[in-house]
């Protein structure tokens, strides 16, 4: 590991000033469940690590504007166990509860979950974010891509975004608040993510010196929500595909829908095709299945991951069927 400087901020202003204006020269430490292993494995080598855990205002979950404001330092466990979240946003609570295992959930934070780096095994073995050989060839396309993207995979990025919270938050139309040198800005979580075009790009729109401070989840009255993870092991395993849905009902019919998949594309993948397929439908096996089929419109396999197309369909279908069983928020 490269020797680095450790700095601890107590205010977000301080954090910004401690961060570097050059991306990658400084990294943020919150729960530490990802950044420390990235550093130990020499995948990132910041000159300074900025601890933000002491910034009090980045914690806590509270009511705001009819919805909830969730601080970036809220742990996954707090989120999963929060009565307010469980009651109003069961799909979000579910997504949180399924993440990794208890040890990770007690350390990892909401902000960290949104900003964590991909698990692509070429990236993690030192071949860069895009998993390329020295001559720029994609090791992913030529190699073992069983866990890679089936959507948004026209290249050169083929990894899947690992966040389990982002699909649930996007389904709920949540916004993310960011603090940086220019002050505060906020944008829909959906727009927070971007597919990198080069190895030096990142997977989101955060600029150097910017910090995610909180997430704003709007009220979800009349919305049925659920998250379904297809995971090989019962616990402590990454999803092979995940879907989160928020279905605004008008009586027994769907008035509008938001359907977002995780672990299928380099960004959390919102499927308007699936959403359209649900509008005006009642929730049953047939409509859920049709939405699942619609969700993988345009999906293509990379050679070893065709099964993930099936898993994505099933995740969408099962999330919808679970949501159908929920009492309305």
């Amino acid at each position: 590991m490269q020797a680095f400087e450790y700095a601890s901020a107590t205010t977000k202003q301080q954090a910004v000033s401690l961060l570097s204006s050059t991306m990658g020269d400084a990294e943020i430490l919150a729960g530490g469940t990802d950044i420390l292993s990235l550093m130990k494995d020499d995948i990132v080598a910041p000159k300074r690590l900025v601890n933000i855990k002491e910034i009090k205002e980045l914690g806590g979950i509270r009511a705001a504007g009819g919805g909830l404001r969730i601080g970036a330092l809220v742990t996954i466990e707090e989120l999963a166990e929060s009565p307010a979240v469980r009651q109003a946003y069961p799909g979000l609570a579910q997504a949180a509860a399924e993440i990794a295992g208890p040890q990770i959930r007690h350390m990892a934070t909401v902000g960290g979950n949104l900003c964590q780096r991909p698990r692509c095994w070429y990236f993690r073995n030192g071949f860069g974010l895009l998993g390329q050989s020295k001559d720029g060839k994609s090791l992913v396309l030529e190699g073992d891509n069983r866990y890679h993207a089936i959507l948004g995979n026209s290249g050169p990025a083929y990894f899947v975004h690992p966040s389990s919270l982002a699909p649930a938050l996007i389904a709920l139309n949540a916004r993310v608040r960011i603090f940086g040198p220019g002050g505060e800005r906020d944008l829909p979580v959906e727009e927070f993510y971007s597919i990198p075009k080069s190895a030096s790009d990142r997977e989101n729109v955060l600029q150097a010196q910017e910090v995610v401070t909180e997430v704003m989840v709007p009220a979800a009255r009349g919305v049925r929500g659920a998250t379904y993870e297809v995971r090989q092991k019962d616990a402590f395993d990454w999803p092979l595909a995940l879907a989160s849905v928020a279905l605004k009902m008008s009586g027994a019919k769907v008035q509008s829908a938001r359907v977002v998949m995780g672990h299928v594309a380099p960004v959390p993948w919102r499927s308007q095709e699936a959403e359209q397929a649900l509008v005006g439908k009642s929730l049953d096996e047939t409509s859920a299945k049709a939405a699942g089929e619609a969700a993988v419109t345009g999906a293509r396999d990379l050679g070893h991951n065709a099964y993930k197309i099936q898993l994505a369909k099933v995740a969408v279908k099962r999330a919808i069927l679970q949501a159908a069983k929920r009492t309305l928020a």
């Binding site: 073995n125 190699g143 090989q232 099964y307």
Partner: protein, 713 residues
């Protein structure tokens, strides 16, 4: 002649009972110290530079920058210019430094120039280079048998390379005290490792003192010091003899510290219309390293009148295989039992009836298997739950049942035991053996205490040190047979010598005495007795020390050859391909059981490890880079407590079992899980998933191909 034979059932006070392991409290409280936990005064940390290439020649190495770094105490080239490297992760250089980060930095400062050579790391194609001449064997007249067969089933079955994945990685701490070496090492071979270090270190083995109290898993991968263990001692010497610790990083552990070879086979099996097996044919191949893998025993357990088999060992540029818990048996078992179950399905026969019908082909343990199959069927309610291939119930979740048979040797190894009785009545057992977590300590105490008529806590057990009398390596399920036999002999001799001392006091002949309930008495006459302490005080000033020896192939107390059967009840989500274990049953014999609780525990552990390899474990290699892609515990998955379902273990005991003597148990129960799970999946979904681990991708692919060209299976 002393009478060493095991006490008859009515007289066993501890042997065969359910006894909690003695070191349990130390382990759960963290007091137990593993090699990984050991920190010696002034200890340095070592690191190994490993090859990033799967096949290359070393052109040059420049260690000058590393040598100049502050805090670096030793830099040593392990493989220098001109050496050909055959797998990624092979050892190139070693350093010792004052702390781990410095050692890590020093490793990175070493510049190595490689000439890259073509590599092959994928072994699913039998046409990649042969490691050695293929083996072919024919028996009877298979051609004729296939021609005359009532039914023939064909299939492809396989098992990928997987790793040992020891939770405590390999490694040691070496320090020199003058010309003598002290080594703490994570090993399955406390008495044998010094002899392996002596040559490369050029010191007499008698000057190497080796210790280990607890180990976090070996599974067949920790019999030697390994090159990194030798280098640890050498860089310690370079650093003035200071203690140096090298424990492998997780990624090195996964990449180079042991793997189980793959095995793939195209199989053809023939039977008469009534299900009687007549012929076997297999074309198999497999690997796991430059010298190929082992050859799976095919056909497994069942001896066919006609067979033809051909095996090719494939050379790959992958960290070499090592013995993995029952070497080659899980692969042979999977291939055979899956092929046989496919044949039964083709005959529309319940595999239980089919296996019973052919059970005589298993040879001398046929009756044992028959009894075990019937017991297993009762425990899993086979007749009630089994259905013909393909669960016809509605919904995506399909349930299925599978079964399998396995065998193993397990006779005791050579072992020496020193048992000392002090005049104050305290008793000590010393042996250069190791407790791999299976309860060796507890077993020694049970045998000594039972023989001496004492409670368990009256025995002090000292193991894990090569200053103690030598005992065999823990491999091949040989430990329990060896260590229980040598301890029995020591305890019987010690007891008889004590009888001789106290007989005059009791006005009896030594042969009239017995050691029961903490007393020495005239047999059956409590009125003529001495307490243990009173009896021992007759020893005078000198403690009594007796050496018990168990020789190789000495078979009065230990034996070889066990049979076991397993059955599984699984659910398969046909929409996701995810397999869940509902229940697994293991019925196992192992001769006379020393500790029933820990024998059962061995079987539970084996089932869990088996579920893990059947569903999750695969060493994923990348052909482009030549690297292992999942040298971690993230995408190298191990089963967790939520993945194992209900596990039921039944040990066969009593007449016909106990009288065979003590037989090892570490390996047999881990042989069948892959086969039973494979068979249960096929029974659930109506199609064979050919290759293990049975991942969602493979299950879905098999389902997709169902009804295609392979419709008969």
């Amino acid at each position: 002649m002393p009478d060493y034979k095991w006490p008859e059932a009515a007289k066993r006070t501890l042997i065969g009972k359910r006894i909690t392991r003695l070191d349990g409290p130390d382990k759960v409280s963290g007091r137990a110290k593993y090699t990984y936990d050991i920190k010696r005064p002034g200890m340095l940390y070592g690191k190994i530079l490993r090859s990033p290439h799967a096949h290359a020649k070393i052109v040059s190495i420049d260690t000058s920058a590393a040598e100049k770094m502050a805090g670096v105490m030793a830099v040593k080239i392990i493989q220098g210019p001109g050496k050909e490297i055959l797998w990624a992760g092979d050892e190139i250089a070693a350093v010792a430094a004052v702390d781990e980060p410095t050692a890590e930095d020093a490793i990175r400062a070493i510049k190595v120039e490689y000439e890259r050579l073509p590599h092959q790391v994928i072994d699913t194609n039998p046409k990649v280079p042969e490691a050695k001449t293929p083996v072919e064997e024919t028996k009877g007249d298979p051609e004729k048998a296939f021609k005359e067969a009532g039914v023939v089933s064909e299939g492809l079955y396989g098992s990928n390379v997987m790793t040992h994945c020891c939770l405590e990685t390999h490694g040691s701490i070496s320090e020199w005290q003058g010309d003598k070496l002290l080594v703490h090492i994570s090993t399955q071979n406390v008495s044998g490792v010094a002899g392996q270090m002596a040559g490369p270190l050029k010191v007499p083995a008698t000057d190497i003192h080796l210790k280990m109290d607890h180990i976090g898993g070996g599974f067949g991968s920790k019999f030697g010091p390994d090159r990194w263990g030798i280098e640890t001692a050498l860089i310690s010497k370079m650093a003035g003899g200071k203690p140096v610790k090298i424990m492998l990083e997780r990624n090195a552990e996964q990449a180079v510290a042991g793997s189980r070879p793959s095995a793939y086979a195209r199989v053809k099996v023939a039977a008469k219309k009534d299900g009687t097996l007549t012929a076997w044919q297999s074309e198999s191949w497999g690997s796991g390293g430059p010298s190929g893998g082992g050859q799976p025993p095919l056909p497994y357990v069942f001896v066919f009148p006609n067979h033809k088999k051909h095996h090719t060992a494939i050379a790959t540029n992958v960290g070499p295989t090592r013995a993995w818990r029952a070497p080659n048996h899980p692969q042979g078992c999977l291939i055979t039992m899956a092929a046989l179950e496919d044949l039964a399905a083709q005959l529309n026969m319940d595999p239980l009836d089919f296996f019973l019908k052919n059970i005589e082909m298993t040879g001398q343990r046929a009756e044992n298997y028959r009894e075990e199959l019937l017991k297993g069927a009762e425990l899993i309610q086979w007749k009630k739950n089994w259905h013909p291939r393909g669960d016809k119930t509605a919904g995506p979740i399909k349930r299925g049942m599978g079964l399998s048979l396995h065998t193993w040797g397990g006779a005791g190894h050579e072992s020496n035991c020193d048992l000392t009785i002090q005049p104050d009545g305290s008793v000590e057992v010393k042996m250069g053996t190791q407790d791999l977590g299976v309860g060796t300590r507890t077993a020694l105490a049970i045998v000594a205490a039972d023989t001496l008529g004492l409670p368990l806590n009256a025995i002090t057990v000292r193991i894990g040190d090569n200053d103690y009398p030598a005992s065999g390596a823990s491999g091949g399920s040989t430990t329990i047979g060896g260590i229980s036999s040598s301890t029995r002999r020591a305890a019987v001799d010690a007891r008889d010598q004590l009888f001789a001392r106290v007989a005059p006091v009791l006005n009896a002949k030594p042969e009239e005495l017995e050691a029961v309930g903490g007393t020495i008495r005239v047999a059956g006459t409590p009125a003529r007795s001495l307490t243990w302490k009173q009896a021992c005080s007759k020893l005078g000033g000198m403690p009594l020390t007796v050496r018990g020896k168990q020789l190789r192939n000495q078979s009065d107390l230990t034996n070889s050859g066990v049979g076991g059967i397993q059955m599984a009840d699984v659910s398969v989500d046909t929409e996701t391909g995810i397999v869940r274990i509902n229940k697994m049953v293991a019925v196992q014999d192992c001769g006379l059981i020393i500790n029933r609780k820990l024998a059962e525990s061995q079987c539970y552990g084996a089932l869990i490890m088996g579920i893990s390899y059947a569903l999750y474990e695969e060493k994923v290699m990348d052909q482009n880079t030549g690297l292992m892609l999942n040298p971690n515990m993230e995408f190298y998955r191990l089963a967790g407590s939520g993945d194992i379902g209900e596990l039921v273990v039944h040990m066969m005991t009593g007449p016909g079992y106990d009288d065979r003597g003590v037989i090892g148990l570490g390996e047999p129960p881990v042989v069948s899980p892959g086969a039973v799970i494979s068979n249960a999946i096929a029974n659930a979904i109506g199609v064979r998933v050919s290759t293990m681990p049975f991942t969602p991708a493979r299950v879905l692919k098999a389902l997709e191909q169902k009804g295609g060209s392979n419709a008969s299976v």
